[in-house]
Symmetry: C2
Subunit: 251 residues, 2 copies
Amino acid sequence: MDESSNHQSTGSMPYLIGISQILGVAALAVTGTWMSHYRGGFSWSGPLQFNVHPLCMVLGMVFLCGDSLLVYRVFRHETKRATKILHGVLHIMALIISLIGIIAVFQFHKSSSIPDMYSLHSWVGITTFTLYLLQWILGFIMFFVPGVGFAYRTKFKPLHSFFGASLLVAAIASCLLGITEKLLFSIPKDYSKMVPEGILANSLGLLLVAFGAVVVYVLTREEWRRPPLPEEQALSIDFKTLTEGESPTEP
Amino acid sequence: MDESSNHQSTGSMPYLIGISQILGVAALAVTGTWMSHYRGGFSWSGPLQFNVHPLCMVLGMVFLCGDSLLVYRVFRHETKRATKILHGVLHIMALIISLIGIIAVFQFHKSSSIPDMYSLHSWVGITTFTLYLLQWILGFIMFFVPGVGFAYRTKFKPLHSFFGASLLVAAIASCLLGITEKLLFSIPKDYSKMVPEGILANSLGLLLVAFGAVVVYVLTREEWRRPPLPEEQALSIDFKTLTEGESPTEP
């Protein structure tokens, strides 16, 4: 057992993590270019306030959330405590930035007398963000608050991981819906003529899908999971012995 | 080893599979209702040909593909051969039905002089379908054509499973984009007034997301994977011994 967990081959993982970062930064650059070059740039008041929304959502709910999930793969040989703190810090940044993005679009709707929450983009988006908030709070209570039993944490962990990856995918789906809506509102006649803005925004959609696919692929490879450090392993085996009455030497 | 694989608890899996079927059938019913009640029904010619597209894509690329992935969990105690054939038959149906759906929309575009392949929906959709075709062909060669080595199959299987689930998710994302496009084309002024058609179509989007989430959750639970039958286990252990020089009695 010790042998198999210590002798882990990371194979193509470093390359895939590199590719994910290139895709993520490219998605951010394309969002920024779209909003600044074609949609007039950014401002916290007036019609340009809308443009803050896509940039913040791609940065917060996609890029930072995705990177936060990768922390346990990238820093596999650091202590659990250090990786956990980094995971938490990235999620604090993601939460604040996406909250700014959500406030931006609601304020823009209000000042422009546009109704809220009627579109599929808004339904999927707000459901994703609400569940993200719930995941955030539950994750904080289960993994950061001291005193929560090891058995509870172990039981909750796979659910937390599944919902983490699912919410990243839902956030990306929500971005794709936002891209489609924005294009059909901004260039309703020109979109079908394959104008550069349409091609750029469609490419952003594919970049986001590719980012999500690579991140989820890395996360779901069983052999690339963070191996427990020797001292963690000893602890968890002792605990297993205590709770389940198993011998630590058994497979 | 034998003990742990035979003594598998399926826990909430039967309920989740039941829920997935309710969600899938509801999504199909809502698509049918939307197209027949609000969009004039179905026909293989004229403007109503479009309506064949959403129904076929939801049935083929989402419902049948999703169910095909669940086959190995639902029929966990049948022989591998029987489950494999059912998996293949469901995918043949999915392929034919979604091909009809794609032909329908291209023919409708042609007869109505609407340009093809400019939208993000079409980009994500055609990429998903092309990769699905590739996955179909590779899967057929690797798992149905006799003579492919056990070692190759074992290596290819996790990739095949990952891409299967990913393509289901991509198909659902593509459906969401299609729903948004269709609503903004059909009821551009009324959508923001929360008319019943908008609410119905948005609900379809949420049903599809819920279907995908439940299916992928069931698929990714390690403890619910199909346990090898005793005769398969003996075979694979023998093979492992031959190829890796390991003792079959070792964990």
